[in-house]
Amino acid sequence: MPPPGDPIIRVRSLVTRFGAQTVHDNLDLDIRRGEILALVGGSGTGKSVLLRTILGLKQPEGGSIEMFGQPMNTLAPREQLHIQRRWGVLFQNGALFSSLTVAQNIRVPFRENTTLSHKLVNDLIRLKIQLVGLPPDAGAKLPSELSGGMKKRAALARALALDPEILFLDEPTAGLDPIAAGDFDNLIRDLQRSLNLTVVMVTHDLDTLAAITDRIAVLLDRRIMVGTMSELMTLPHPWIRQYFHGPRGRAALAAHRGE
């Protein structure tokens, strides 16, 4: 396994457009192995679009995306599938299959991609349910019987099913109360350490940014600026200043420093 710090995802001169509107223009981004990187930016700056483009759900209008050193856009579908197995995605509302129980949801990736024995898969499902902090009886429940926070945990368990190397999170703490959001942050940090994950997340949550991210990528003017929180805070760009030096940003940072 390559050492930590290596770029695991390399985005080069990415261009995405919707009609006449350019969302990203010559955007470059490196995501390093083993880090937690947050994508932030104002509404409409294309955070989710960038995530979807990296995931291959949207075709870019130009530029290239390399994952694990392989250019995604030139790979054959079979090889792409192989790479997709090495990442897990947590969608904003969980995107659990509503007709399946939590356990069946987690079983889906195993059934599609592995030939493990039924018993081992059951053990692993129980293990993942426990890893994400769900009560043991959650496995038999349907998504509609779970609270918002539990749904996210269940979806995280599904995303982690095949032990991905990269975990993509789209607004993981949106819609959670502050306590649940804090718990979720800790869970992600904890899992990232013990499972050796690279985490890429879109978030608006300043507490999350201050508490668990290693680097922050700010989408500004169709480009991106990357740095640690303290590096970004020294930048003069008005949006960054407002974002980090506004009352919410200061409060989050103060809370984190106080810990």
Binding site: S98, L116, L120, I125, P136, L195
Partner: protein, 376 residues
């Protein structure tokens, strides 16, 4: 070829040394399961597990290792972990909380009990649905009466927009299908009646069946599928988006704003569409008569006029507004009953279409019985 993962056993006095190495990860899970099973069968008393040779470890490998350790300990042995990279040790410790063996499947319900439950629930649901629909009819009537007293409250723009969608936009499909049904009826009738040399009576057949039944029934079924479903989907989507709740908090009357314009639109449009469908079907019949039977257009009209009375036409037409009322009511009612997410919108839309077609045909049967008593 070097193995992807291995587990070598050696002895250090009374202690078995398990030298574990390679990639203990998901892609090699089948191999790992075999390795672990081999050690378990060997029944070593005490063991030291060396993890120094591990290249990578994920939850599958860690889980299998953990399971092995637990089994050895359960057999009365002592297990120690020797050399291990810190991240592997952390991961292994994470497994230490053994997951409770709760069942992962839903509780099993015996087939016959499930069947009885479903029949019972469907029966009760049917009755409740009927009662609620009658309540909804009452609510709509009251709203309608209130609006009639103050005609300024009719949402004219909304009404005309729905008229366009329900009526005008449906003209091509209603016209085409009715025309084709006219063609089919005329041909089939002529084919059968030819045996008696009474081909001319296929004109009567087409005229009576189209004007009394088929014109209005076909149109109503098309409108139920086209517009009744659209009512449910539109209102249901608004319900999911909390737009209905927003309306209520803004002091808007949902019945007045959403239900009444749709209901009135379909009640105005369906009779007009029925008339159009009658014309199209008769045209189809006339063309087919000309082509197959050689009955000229004047002949066709003459035959039609002498045998098909005005009452026949009205028997069909009078049913249209009633059918329309059923379609509109069911469409709006099911839309307002949407709860939860988008899947509910789809379910309710299906239900609305099935229910409104069902009710239209039941009502048609009721009309038939009534007319036969009245002697039409």
């Amino acid at each position: 070829m070097a193995e992807a993962a291995w587990c070598r056993t050696s002895r250090d006095g009374r202690v078995a040394v398990l030298d574990i190495g390679g990639a203990w990860t998901l892609p090699h899970a089948t191999l790992l399961e075999r390795l672990v099973a081999g050690v378990e069968r060997a029944a070593v008393p005490s063991a030291r597990i060396e993890l120094g040779g591990l290249e990578s470890l994920d939850t599958v490998g860690a889980w299998l290792l953990h399971r092995l350790i637990r089994r050895l300990e359960n057999q009365g042995g002592k297990v120690a972990i020797g050399d291990a990279a810190p991240e592997h040790r952390i991961l292994l410790q994470r497994m230490m909380l053994p997951p409770e063996r709760r069942t992962l499947s839903r509780p099993y319900v015996p087939v016959f009990r499930a069947l009885a439950e479903r029949i019972g629930m469907a029966t009760v649901g049917f009755a409740v649905e009927g009662r609620d629909l009658i309540q909804f009819l009452g609510l709509t009537s009251v709203t309608f009466a209130r609006v009639l007293l103050r005609p300024g409250r009719i949402r004219v723009v909304s009404l005309f927009s729905h008229l366009e969608r329900v009526g005008l936009n449906a003209l091509p499909i209603v016209g085409l299908l009715s025309f084709l049904i006219g063609v089919v009826l005329s041909y089939q009738g002529a084919d059968q009646l030819r045996a008696f040399g009474a081909e001319i009576y296929s004109v009567n057949l087409v005229g009576v069946s189209v004007l009394r039944e088929i014109g209005v029934l076909l149109t109503a079924i098309l409108v139920a599928g086209r517009s009744g479903s659209a009512f449910t989907a539109e209102i249901g989507t608004m319900k999911v988006n909390e737009e209905i709740d927003a309306m209520k908090t803004l002091g808007l009357d949902v019945m007045e704003v959403l239900v009444l314009p749709r209901l009135l639109a379909v009640m105005i449009a369906l009779p007009l569409l029925t008339f159009f469908a009658d014309l199209a079907a008769l045209t189809g019949g006339a063309l087919m008569s000309l082509a197959v039977l050689g009955i000229s257009l004047p002949q066709f009209l003459e035959q039609l006029r002498s045998y098909v009375t005005e009452a026949t036409f009205w028997v069909g037409m009078i049913k249209a507004p009633f059918f329309a009322g059923l379609i509109g009511l069911v469409g709006c009612y099911e839309g307002l009953k949407v709860e939860g997410g988008a899947d509910s919108v789809g379910r309710m839309t299906t239900k609305a279409v099935v229910e409104s077609i069902f009710l239209v045909i039941v009502a048609d049967a009721a009309f038939s019985i009534m007319f036969s008593y009245l002697g039409f």
